[in-house]
Symmetry: C2
DNA sequence: GTCATTACTTACAAATTTGTTCGTGCCTAA
DNA sequence: TTAGGCACGAACAAATTTGTAAGTAATGAC
């Protein structure tokens, strides 16, 4: 999200799990708002302000940061139209689409699990 | 993991996503070492010290904390034997077992995705 | 009586994540 | 000429997560 110190103990310890594909995958969807964004964008292509209105309880800064990492991670695509006022559209990528059925399963597991605990 | 302040802005904003089953589910598997532990325990029932040796790069404190939350979340079962020196065994629960195939899919997605980016 | 073993716990520090508030550059409508 | 919309960015503060190092209680072996 923000830049990381390269040689912190935190980062060094992270190296120990770097070869785990599962942990890698989960890191892509971790973060408080990422899944909500992904889910929303899986239905429609949306502009920044539309997302902002949709998730009014989420700060603009977080929206911006999460979108940026998701773009870097190849989950969403960002398209800028050279207009005034500016228009930027966000949409889900093919890779991320492959994630959706898995997330559905996770979601039902969550629902079931929540009732149980 | 550690105790939380009840009325922080952080916690208040978390309320906004509390009804999302998917986010709920992901929160159960978030955390740097949780997935590794879960995966390991899915193969064998193990004692605290065995886990400690297995994950030697992980601090005892983290091991203890993660196991504790996973137990609270119903992912693992903790059994104490009244012996000296003490013996405590950790094993995966049925609920968590249902998670495993989903995690497998996530893992292959991660593997594929990692190569692509 | 000292020491090792087991499964933790505590105190403290470092690192990261999230939140709040303000500001920017461009143009259009009033 | 002033105000407002758009898509952010920057500075700073609060909260949480992770890491390090040391300590605890009970008992059996020596």
């Amino acid at each position: 999200m923000t830049t990381r110190k390269e040689n912190s103990t935190y980062t060094r310890n992270e190296q120990c799990i770097v070869n785990c594909d599962l942990t890698y995958a989960v890191q892509k969807i971790e973060g408080r708002w990422k899944l909500l964004l992904l889910y929303k964008l899986s239905k429609n292509k949306l502009r920044f302000n539309e997302l902002k209105k949709e998730f009014s309880y989420m700060s603009e800064r977080m929206l911006s940061l999460q979108l940026k990492t998701m773009e870097k991670d190849g989950l969403i695509k960002r398209t800028v139209y050279a207009e005034i006022p500016p228009r930027v559209e966000y949409e889900i990528t093919e890779v991320a689409k492959e994630l959706l059925p898995i997330l559905d399963q996770l979601s039902s597991w969550g629902s079931k699990q929540r009732k149980a605990v």
